[in-house]
Structures are given as structure tokens and as C-alpha cells.
Amino acid sequence: MSPVLEVERLEVSFGDVHAVRGLSYTVRPGEVLGIVGESGSGKSVAAAAVMGLLPPGARASGSVRLHGRQLLGAPERELRAVRGRTVSMVFQDPLSALTPVYRVGDQIAEAVRVHQKVSREQALAKAVDLLDLVGIPDPRGRALAFPHEFSGGMRQRVVIAMAIANDPDVIICDEPTTALDVTVQAQVLEVLKTAQRATGAAIVMITHDLGVVAGFADRVLVMYAGRPVEVGDVDDVYYRTRMPYTVGLLGSVPRVDAGGRRALVPIDGHPPAPAARPPGCPFAPRCPMRIEACEDREPPLFEVGAGHQAACIRWDEVRPWAAGDGAVRPWAAGDGAVRPWAAGDGAVRPWAHDDGAVRPSAGGGGGDGPGWPVVRGARRVLEVDGLVKHYPVRKGAIFKRRVGTVHAVAGVSFDIREGETLGLVGESGSGKTTALTQILELAEPQEGRVVVLGRDTARLTREQRAAIRRDMQVVFQDPLAALDPRMTIYDILAEPLRTHPRAPLRAHGGRAPGARVAELLDLVGLDPSHAARYPQDFSGGQRQRIGIARALALEPRLLVLDEPVSALDVSIRAGVINLLDSLRTRLGLSYLFVAHDLAVVRYLADRVAVMYLGRIAEIGRVEAVYGTPAHPYTQALLSAIPLPDPVRERARERTLLDGDLPDPADPPSGCRFRTRCPKFAGVLTGAERSLCVDTEPEIRTLGEDQGAACHYAEKLAVV
């Protein structure tokens, strides 16, 4: 079959900055090409160039041919006829991709009417059909709604409906699921597959998530610093990797399926700024296989297999990361091949050598299998009992009328023992952030009890509160937002020391802040001489290390981590995760780790609590909850996470959840999950269901350290 879309030597530059440097690919009808890259790799700019939608000031050269017709440099009239008809696009952020002031149906109808001579009514009818196709319930009614009345996932469905309105031949998806929750991501990917079946279009899937591509794409193109560095069939790229960067990416992705906990292997450094690329291979400064020849000139794409290309002069020595059997194999030792990430990583990553081994856990005993003894520490650093937080909800920015009460947290209980890490996971709207804020505020909760470091927050004296503020510290999600941009790193790190001048630092009492600041920077793997710089002078990963250093300044006992790695690129993420892991054992810390990413939690936590709509659905030891989840929600959540493993990903059976999170101001009666529960809908009999409708389930113990809030909980392995 002749290709639909051929891109050849595409170059895009903004002034002197070359964002895309020689990108070539072809897509055949019905094929899915995945383009994978980190932020700044030029993948989105390349997509915009194909559509002819580059921002002003960008120059594109090379060739983009659609059905053999040159698009690059074609007159605007011609491009307009193609856009939305032959090539269409799905954008990353569904919240801002729709015009807020027009009805959804009209916006889809507009897409139809631009290219087809049909009446208004016909176009609207077509819009309703499309909404139905992408799985929007009550399409006729919803077509009259405005974009803000849709959830993020539903809006993305609308954007997809718009993209397939004219039966395009190519759909370009630019990070279509990045802004969405993982269960919604699974839904949207399913819709994309439906859309592809309905139109027979080829799809170019741009993403940073190696998991999304593994199950979805036929071929993969990995981009780095504006160039493709590896291209090939999905299986070739994942299992017969020939480019060290791809190897590194695959090795640094936290996986939800990893048996036991293998240490992640981060890639050193960070991607080069587009304006300051090294002369040779752009990856050379971070590459463990670097030799002198790498710095001479940029390597071209070598043919390394059938339809498989890699841009590395030592491609034949590169060994892939791991096979698809789930068990993590370290680099085969003693085979004479180079082992890129085996050593030389410094103090920050103490587990580089014991891949696959059980990490010593300060919580006493750790387990790999369900039969392992579970011994929890005796002292509780945090105890949350029946915590409730509700807000009044008002509608309307002007006429603020109260329309109800949101029970953001509706009776949540858990505890953390000394040296233990509890992962609090949930999707947006689950109440995890509210729960976290309630703990951090140190105020009396509306209902329930919060006991921090042995003190009930409802009865705190001024001194006690100050003492807790010293011993409980927090690390935030967005490392840039968490650091005052007007302060030097020195001032940022010295602030806690100045706030608690008489803090009895166990090891460093009575010393000037300067010494402590240098020590802290050293502790998190940063150069102490950078203390006089400002946060914006650092990369994302470095900033997060500064945030961690600040939290450690007073030698706290409990560290609250609010999505500490979700704002970071994949290759950077692993380093921060490893740092957090090593700090915990070295400093004897306890972590409350809040995240939406179950894979990350698996790496760091001893125990995990899964939240849904303000309540804990399942709680227990990580091995138990991940290995044999008992709550249908946990099962769906785990099965929705894509694995960077094409064979397993294709073979997996997904439990897809229906619809959206219910309105938190009006949760379902009885079990809050029942409206979306696959078990409730498919397995239970009418009599069994009435229990779910009438009675809110409490957490039931199901094993050594595992409990689920489901009347019909059953352990089931899903990953």
C-alpha cells in the first residue's frame, strides 16, 4: 500500500533555534505510528508543521506529502481544504481546545460544514451521530451543552468527534491522553481505536508515555533533541533496542507490573537546550556508552534490522533493557557487552547493583510474595481516623448560590508507622489532595481525628504546633512553583533554619545555616557552590532536589510528598524516585506519598491506600494490593495502566470503567463506586446488588495486611 503521509527531512526552526532537525517518516493507511519523546524533543512542533499550523516566526523546510501532494509551502487555500478533511488533529489539552462560548454540537457541525455542502440541520444531525460514535451518552441533549459542562475525558471525545467529522485519512494525536486520569486515558484510547475502525485512518500518536504506545502503535519513532534516534516496529524497538537513549528510557520507567522492586536506572543529566546542543551525538553527554568518536559528529540513522533504524555508532553493542516476561533481568553480566547503567552513579542510587533484590525496608520485613511475614513498626507517626472534610459548593461566578455540599473526604482512616511509607493514590476528584491538606493544616478536622507525631491536631498548643511544623515537612508537585522565584537557593534552604532557629538538629546543632545549606545540597546530589543561584537556573529534576533538600533541612521525621515526580520527564523521574528511596533508609524517615501514578507508588511505598470519591477503596501492603487487588476499582485502575511492553499490552484484558466520576456533591447511595462498578453491572444478581445500593461498605480485612471496602471483594491478579 502506498503511504498516506510522507514526511522527509523536515526541519523547523524558530530564529536560530532548531526545534526539529531532519525528521522523516511515512504512515500507511490504517497504520498507527507512535512518536515518543520527552519535552523539548520537538515532537509537537513537528506535528504542527505537518498541519501547517506553526506559530508565526517558525520556519519549516523539507517535505510533507499527503497522498503524494506537497503540503509544505502550499498556498493557504490548499492547506485549508486538506485540514480537517484529509488530515485532522487531536490536541493535548481538551480543556482549552474548544471555544468556550459555542455549543459543542455547533462546533462539530462547523467542522462538517467547512468541508461539506450540507444544511445546518444536516450538519447538526451528523454532529449528534459523531457524539454517539465517540461514546457520549445522550448525544442529542449533550450536543446543546457548552464545553465547560463536560469533563476532561468527555471533552477529549468531542475533540476526537471533530477530528473524524470528515472521514480523514490521517489523524494526528498530540499527547491526547496526557492531561487525563489513567482510567479516562484507557477510555479515550478505546475511543480512538473505535474512531480508527470507523474511518480507516492512519494515526500518528505523539506521546511521552512508552506504555501508551506499546499497546496502541504498530511502529515507533523515538525522538531526542529534535531528531529521530530510533525507528522501527514496536517489538523491535522495545525488545531489540539499539539506541542507548531508548534503553535508558525503558529502564527508567516505573512499571506497575515489576515483580518485587527493581531499582530504577535514571539517565544522568538532562536533555540539552535546543539553543546549546553539543556538536556530536546530542545524547553523548548523558550516554554511558560514550566514546570519543561520539563527539565528532551526529550519527546518522543506521539500518540495524528490517525496517529498524537507530542513530548510534555503537548500535551493535547496545543490549535491550529487559524482556517481556515481567521479571526484570539486569544487563546480562559477563557477556562482554557494555552495561550502560550498571555503575558509577554515585551515592544517590545505592541500589544500582541489587536489581531485583528486595530493598531493605526500615518498616521491618519486606515482602515479595503474599506469604511473607508482615511486621509493622510499633510507633505511629501519623494517624488519621474517620477524617471528614466537606465544602459548600456554589454555582455561578456572579450569582453565587449554594447548590450543595461536596464531601471531598468522607471518612478516611489510615496510619503510618515509623520508617514506613504509605502511598495515597487516587484519580482527580478522589479527595487525596484534600486529605493531605487537612493533615498539613494542623487544624481541628470537621469530623474525625488527625494525630501527627503523637499529638492530636484538635488540641495543639502554639509550641506543639511549631514543633510539628518542624518535624513534618512537605515536598510539592511542581518544583518550580514550590520555590520562591525571587529567592536564591541559599535563602530558600535557610528559611526553615531561620524559622526554627533553636531546632535541635541531631547532628548539626548550633552551626551557621551556611554549613547546613552546603550539606543539604550535597545530600541531594547538587553542587553546593550553586547556592547563590535562583530556582529558574536549574532544570526540573534539580529543582525538585532543592525542594527535597528544603524539606530535609530540619531533619524531619515525617515527610509528606505531594506528587513529587509527576511534573518531571521520564528520564529525570527515576533519579528523584531513587533519591527519595535512599534518603528514607539513610535518614530513617516516614513518608506519606500522595500520587495518581500507581507505578511510581509501587516503587516507593510499603503500603498503599487507594481512594475513590472521598473514601478509601482498598488499603494494604503494596505486594498484596498490586499483586491481588480485591476491590473492583483497584482492579480497574491497575488494568488501565499501560505497560511499556508490547506483547503483554496486546494480550491484556482491560477492565474499562463506564462514564465519569459521579458528582461529588451528590454521590451514589450505598457503595460510591457502584455506578461504574463492572462487578455491579455484570456479575452481581439483583439481590446482591441491593446491598451495594443500600449499605456503604466498610473496609474488610482480606488478608495479612489488605482490606477492601467492597461487599463482594475478591482477590484477582490483573497485571
Partner: protein
């Protein structure tokens, strides 16, 4: 609270590698400011005007109170560079004197009003609750009161030599809009994680306001202060035009324009020098303010 680099070097244990001094924010902003054409132009014009207002009168034999009884309403000449007025006063001397007064009034009023706006806005936005309700009501009240009318009523109080009182009153009616913006930005800053971090660390609220909130609003405040200068100058002018502002024998651009507009048709020099200088002053101040805004916020599209 920023430690100087020497102190830092002293405090640090162990030798670190030599480091290049990172560019300070001030230097970056100044650099960006002067890189823009409008910034350079506005600054240069403003500097010339200030120099003229301060040093200009020294070069003229006439003081602004002098009257030349031999020359009434004469066009510009070697003796009277900008001509004379109906009463025989030297227009050059009067104009420069008036400009000095207008500039001073404008600068001071802007300074006071911006400081007021910053404090009220930051406190209302940070503490919310009752503090906010009281301060917001006060802001609304002053917004609703017709400033011009109130200032006009109070004009008898601004008698000779009482211009500082006039400045205060002027400032009192200039701060509300900025304060509302400051309040809104403080509320969003309070949600920002670095402020939360400070709170959860146990830093007292006052300290957070002064070391985190206000410094992070400084760009807004500086730009606003600049734009308030022109607003103050224009308000002063219009009040003085009707005789409600600067009181004789003191002169300002407003009183000069008021006097001059009566004779503008047949003696244009009595009107246009003062009016022209006023326009140039306000224009220069606005240019500086706009360039400052761009210099502070490099991500904003340059609005020229």
C-alpha cells in the same frame, strides 16, 4: 534577608569550585528595560524633563513670581524664552516651576497610593475572612465616592504651602483598583506552593506577606506605580484647571493650562508650552511603565 556572596563564601565549609556570579534579577530587568527602544526613549525624555524642572530655572533671569510690567502677553523672545502671560509673568519660569510641582505631586502620590494598595490588597487577600471583608468594603466605598468631587470640596484645605496634604488626598483616591488587583493576585499566590511551603514550615503570616507575597508582586506594583504617576499628574492637572488643586501663588501645569486656555487662541504660547510639556511628561512616564512591564515579564508578548 539575602546573604551577600562574601558571607556565603565565608560560611561555606570546604572549598567549592569558583562560580560565576549569577545575574541578579535587578540587573536582568534593567538590561531588558534598556534593550527596548521605548524604555530608552521614555527614560531619556523623563531624565531630560526632570533635569529641566530642577536646573532649568537657574538659567533664566526671571523667577516664576516675577512680573515684567513692560511686557504683557508677548510672544517668545530673547528676554522671555516662552513669552509672557497676561500679567507679565515669564512663561518659561512658570512652566518649569509648574512642571516641577506636577512631577513631585505625581511621584509622591503614586508612591503613597501604591504602598497603600500593596498593603491593603496583600492583607485582605492573605487573611481573607473579616480582614478582607472590612478592607474590601473600604475599597468599594472609596471606589464609589466620586473622587473629583470630594477632592474639590476639600480644596480650601490645600491653601498655600499645603500641597503635601493635597498629595495625600490624591493618593487616597488612586489606590483602589491596584489594591483589588493585588488582593486577587495575593489570593492566587497564597495557593502557590512556595507560599504553602512556608506556611507548612511554620513561617508567621506577616513574614510570609513581606518576604514572599509582596516581593513576588513587586513587578506588578512597580509597573502600577509608574502608571499611577501619570494618573496622578493628570488628576492634579484637571483639579488645578478648575482651581481645586494647587493654590496660587504656587503654580502647576494644571493652573498654567487653565490660565493659558483662556488666551490660547490669540496667544498660543501661554497654552501650548505647558500643555505640550504635560503631554510629553505623561507620555514618557507611560512609555517607561510599559517597558518596565515587558522587562519584568519576559513571557508576555511585547506590547508596543
Amino acid at each position: 534577608m539575602t546573604l551577600s556572596e562574601e558571607e556565603l563564601a565565608e560560611e561555606r565549609t570546604g572549598p567549592g569550585p569558583a562560580r560565576a556570579a549569577p545575574p541578579s534579577r535587578l540587573r536582568v530587568v534593567t538590561g531588558r528595560f534598556f534593550a527596548s527602544r521605548q524604555g530608552r526613549l521614555g527614560f531619556a525624555v523623563l531624565a531630560v524633563l526632570v533635569a529641566l524642572a530642577c536646573a532649568g530655572p537657574l538659567f533664566s533671569p526671571w523667577a516664576y513670581t516675577d512680573k515684567d510690567f513692560l511686557a504683557f502677553l508677548r510672544p517668545p523672545s530673547a528676554a522671555h524664552w516662552f513669552g509672557t502671560s497676561q500679567t507679565g509673568a515669564d512663561v518659561y519660569a512658570m512652566t518649569l516651576r509648574g512642571m516641577r510641582r506636577s512631577l513631585l505631586v505625581g511621584l509622591l502620590a503614586a508612591l503613597v497610593s501604591t504602598a497603600l494598595a500593596a498593603l491593603v490588597g496583600a492583607f485582605a487577600g492573605y487573611f481573607l475572612g473579616w480582614t478582607d471583608r472590612v478592607l474590601s468594603r473600604l475599597t468599594d466605598l472609596l471606589l464609589v465616592l466620586p473622587a473629583f468631587l470630594i477632592l474639590a470640596i476639600m480644596s480650601p484645605l490645600f491653601g498655600a504651602g499645603q500641597w503635601p496634604l493635597f498629595v495625600l488626598m490624591l493618593a487616597l483616591f488612586l489606590w483602589m483598583v491596584t489594591s483589588k488587583i493585588t488582593r486577587g493576585m495575593t489570593i492566587s499566590l497564597k495557593q502557590r506552593e512556595f507560599v504553602q511551603a512556608a506556611r507548612y514550615m511554620g513561617v508567621p503570616p506577616m513574614k510570609i506577606i513581606f518576604s514572599h507575597v509582596l516581593p513576588n508582586l513587586s513587578s506588578l506594583l512597580i509597573v502600577d506605580a509608574t502608571l499611577n504617576v501619570s494618573a496622578a499628574i493628570l488628576t492634579e492637572t484637571s483639579l488645578s484647571y478648575f482651581g481645586f488643586g494647587i493654590q496660587p501663588p504656587d503654580v502647576s501645569l494644571g493652573t498654567l493650562i487653565a490660565d493659558g486656555s483662556r488666551t490660547a487662541v490669540y496667544a498660543p504660547w501661554t497654552f501650548w508650552f505647558a500643555a505640550g510639556l504635560l503631554v510629553i511628561t505623561v507620555l514618557a512616564v507611560n512609555l517607561v511603565g510599559d517597558a518596565l512591564r515587558d522587562a519584568f515579564d519576559p513571557t508576555a508578548r511585547r506590547s508596543r
